[in-house]
Amino acid sequence: MPSEEDKDALFDAIIDGDREAVVRVVRAAADGGDDLAGLLREVMIPAMGEVGELFSKGEIFVPEMLVAARAMQGGIDIIEPILAGGGHQPIGRVCIGSVKGDLHDIGKNLVVMMLRGAGFEVEDLGVDVPVGRFAEAVARGHRVICLSALLTTTKPEMKTVVDHFRDRPDVRIVVGGAVITQDYANLIGAHGFGEDAPAAVHAVRRCLGLNA
């Protein structure tokens, strides 16, 4: 593992959104043959967790959270191919999309970035995603589906997706978006609800039995 000083610098660089510093420390760790899985688990993911906490407490805004996520991604881009080559598995695989009829992607994209920052492998299905494409993602091995909707006219499509997987207790569905509430999530039988991007990450972790 890198020195404590380097780990602290990496932690701070992610929170500060300093992509160059993140890449520099992670590259040095990779070149030095350090434990990259440990670096990811013990330093980088907790740093993004801190970013999510700061956002949820209103101490940073969305652009700052995204700058941090992009800095984190700079490190992940180095680590991921190396770990994948060694058979390392992500903590979970998630597919996500804005439901059929909804072309808005701003909230969905925040969740993508935060999930990746939390160590998940995320397949972004994009916008206007019909239930069949979520079914195809499940057939590819995904067990958590995140659904986003911004319009009152598209939120019923979430129930269509939830109903489609009603007989698949191994598939968990997390919903969120400007027009979605915990009550609505309960009403349609979703397994989780995220009122913002960090909360969506917590909901996904709970669905997978990980400590939220």
Binding site: R19, V62, P63, V67, R70, G101, L103, H104, T153
Partner: protein
Amino acid sequence: MLHEAAAAPQVRHHPLGPLLDEAEARLRRRPDYARPLAGGTARARGIAAALREARACVAAMARPRSAVLALGSAHLSAMQPLPVPAGRPALVTACLMTLGHGQPAAFDWLGRDYLAHHVQTELSREALFALGRRLRDAGSGGAPAGWATRRLALMAGDGDGGRRRWDAGAVQGLLAAFRGADLGVQAIESGCFEPLHTLLSLTLATAPAVAPS
């Protein structure tokens, strides 16, 4: 007493530069951008770079256009009753405005960078609102001076606890009136516009009440 509909929508192209200047200035004034940008930190550099990328993307892709149409009773019959005062001349105009670029294409243009795409989305929205304000200030509704104007929303009850929601059917019906304008705007079944950065406004202008002599 509704004025007759215009035969065809009036289409205008709008220069993008002034809209982007106004949009970026507004974005930079917002606390979520102003505070981190003021710091001179890596965070500030990252957001400033994303703003540059986003602006370059919108400048390369957007082609702002608008179309204004005075509506007659035939257009309005499918909508909810409009609050047109009896016995007073009234004019209902619809204004369709779009930046013309789609979100998926913009995301690809930005190399699928989520930060830059997020900023592009916000910048585009501000640019679209800037266009809307300019059209409003220019009196695009075509109402005679002195008439009172109010915005109308295409909302309908949805049977979901009686709450009102976006009336997708009315949006599609109204959009059909703009077919001749050829702005490349569609509304899918949900009422969501494609391209996303599109606004459709409905304005009711009413003549002043005449005091009894």
